[in-house]
Amino acid sequence: MTTAPAKAGWRFRQPSVIPGFGLTLGFSLAYLTLIILIPLSGLIWRSAALGWADFWAIATDRRTINALEISFGTAFIAAAVNVVFGTIVAWVLVRYSFPGRRIVDAMVDLPFALPTAVAGIALTTLYAPNGWLGSLLAPLGIKVAYTPLGIVIALIFIGLPFVVRTVQPIMEEIDKEVEEVAATLGANRFQTIARVLLPGLAPAIVTGFALAFARGVGEYGSVIFIAGNLPYKSEIAPLLIVIRLEEYNYAAATAIAAIMLALSFVMLLVINLVQTWSRKRYG
């Protein structure tokens, strides 16, 4: 060994010349530990008390699996729908000025502000078989309330602002000149949007998707009213946890929670990696 022995394993890459890295990193880690890591490890700890066999039995229980499928499936669909329509809403807000634009802009945030139970009750009233929309849809054979479709609708409502508010600022920064250049090169409007604008927005859209999805997976208040909560059919995982808690079956509750935690973490990690990759490319 010719040079001074490098500290075994890995070292911090010197991130930049901006001072205060050590201090702020230390603070961030301490803060995250206190706020997120300690409560979550408590959760893991409790579920670990269960023992592997019992844990496995709970995890592979049909009811648990169905609840997880419903939670993650509806959250995924809702986030996907929000990506499409949220991007369109952001586009309209950024690109056009029309009377009432400010009001529409403010309206986007309402799902943030509203107690989720209120949203759930309002949506249920609307979509119940005798509600305004429900009664219109019923003759067509479409049932919304008390089905997974109802859950999706509630999650779309809850998740919309996440997409709009992450995409909007990036969209505002799009350089008009980039669009003009595309036009002079012969691209029509559609080609400009599809090949130039959307790819530039992709990282923001992915972030919006991740946020809406994560929120959807954990959503409870608005969903339980509209879901109907039929075991195996429209029962979401957070509700199942509450049910187990009410049965004083803390071990089962924490086990389901731990599974949700692991799944969410893996998915967010993947999304994050996708983002890092695209950032690196687009600079």
Binding site: D175, E177, V178, E180, V181, A182, A183, T184, L185, G186, A187, N188, Q191, R195, V196, P199, G200, A202, R281, Y282, G283
Partner: protein, 346 residues
């Protein structure tokens, strides 16, 4: 392709950015739009590209009225000062973009597009950078990619808006020479905007001097420099000195003394005398000349610039003296402009 701008007027919400501008651009010409900030250079360029519509007047590409054509159909190459590259595309994809968005039979094969892109990269001296993203290039390199992208569509006209404006002096000079070479090699009709007169005079076949939304003068570098046709052009291009004078009996007067310049054609009355500081003869005997006392003096490269105070009103003008001239503070210096021009006082 020939481009003809015919009596074009452009207003932005009633603010006239261009008044009645006419300009003929010859096919294959490299022409510069030169003028101070806000004089309407960018506006004129954008009108030619079709990025703006004229309030009045027309623009012809060859014989065709371009106002009937959309931006896409005009087939112009536009290069912005800040490059406007597509960040998420590689250099090769940026350059190939204009070919890729074509429809049907006019779209070359993917292989052909790749070949064109690398050919153009050779031309702009960036061979081997196909796979880079714009974020991984220097400013000068980005601007060359932008130019290659504009040339990929074989544009009828190439329009460059301050293409070197964001680059440092060294790189600018390099790119300037390089742009001239490229122009000579490809022969695209090219219009470029600049507010750097050195760039315009050195690079362009003809220079269009603009001021406050109008064209002041169009001509070769020599014409613009040697025979400016307005006080503005005289003052804007190169160094110039101006003095308020009076014309009487076909002679030019300062206060009550003739200064030895005869102007039989000039109308009587107040006027402004323009001349170049370096274009003067020093005289010993002030018998019909301009005389003043040295108020300030500074060394500029190979010469000395002195500021003279002339006459009772202490008008200041600058002239150039040889470095070894003994003039010092308060010395009296007499001179006569060799080449000069009178413009009636406004």
């Amino acid at each position: 392709m020939e481009v003809r701008v015919a009596n074009v007027r452009k207003e932005f919400e009633r603010f006239p950015a261009l008044h009645d501008v006419s300009l003929d651009i010859k096919s294959g010409e490299l022409i510069a739009l030169l003028g101070p900030s806000g004089s309407g250079k960018t506006t004129l360029l954008r009108l030619i590209a079709g990025l703006e519509r004229p309030t009045k007047g027309k623009i012809f590409f060859g014989e065709e009225d371009a106002s009937q054509k959309s931006i896409q159909e005009r087939n112009v190459g536009f290069v912005f000062q800040h490059y406007a590259l597509f960040r998420h595309m590689t250099v090769a994809d940026n350059i190939g973009f204009g070919l890729k968005v074509r429809h049907g039979a006019s779209r070359p094969s993917a292989q052909e597009i790749r070949r064109r892109a690398s050919e153009l990269l050779d031309l702009v001296q960036l061979s081997g950078l196909e796979k880079r993203y714009p974020a991984q290039l220097s400013g000068g390199q980005r601007q060359r990619v932008a130019l290659a992208r504009a040339m990929a569509i074989e544009p009828a006209v190439l329009l460059l808006d301050e293409p070197f404006g964001a680059l440092d002096a060294q790189v600018r000079r390099e790119l300037r020479r390089w742009l001239r070479d490229i122009h000579d090699a490809t022969g695209h009709t090219t219009v470029f905007v600049t507010h750097d007169q050195e760039e315009a005079l050195e690079l362009a076949d003809r220079v269009v001097v603009m001021s406050q939304g109008s064209i002041e003068q169009v001509g070769t570098a020599d014409e613009i420099y040697d025979t400016p046709n307005s006080p503005f052009v005289y003052g804007f291009i190169g160094e110039s000195s101006a003095l308020p004078v009076k014309v009487e009996d076909g002679q030019v007067w300062i206060a009550d003394r003739p200064i030895g310049l005869s102007a039989p054609q000039a109308p009587r009355g107040e006027a402004t005398l323009f001349f170049r500081p370096h274009d003067v003869d020093l005289v010993d005997e002030c018998n019909g000349c301009i005389a003043g006392t040295v108020a300030a003096s500074r060394r500029v490269a190979g010469t000395r610039r002195v500021e003279l105070e002339i006459g009772g009103e202490r008008q200041r003008v600058e002239i150039e003296l040889p470095v070894d001239h003994p003039a010092a503070q308060k010395t009296r210096v007499a001179f006569r402009p060799r080449r000069w021009k009178l413009f009636p006082a406004a």
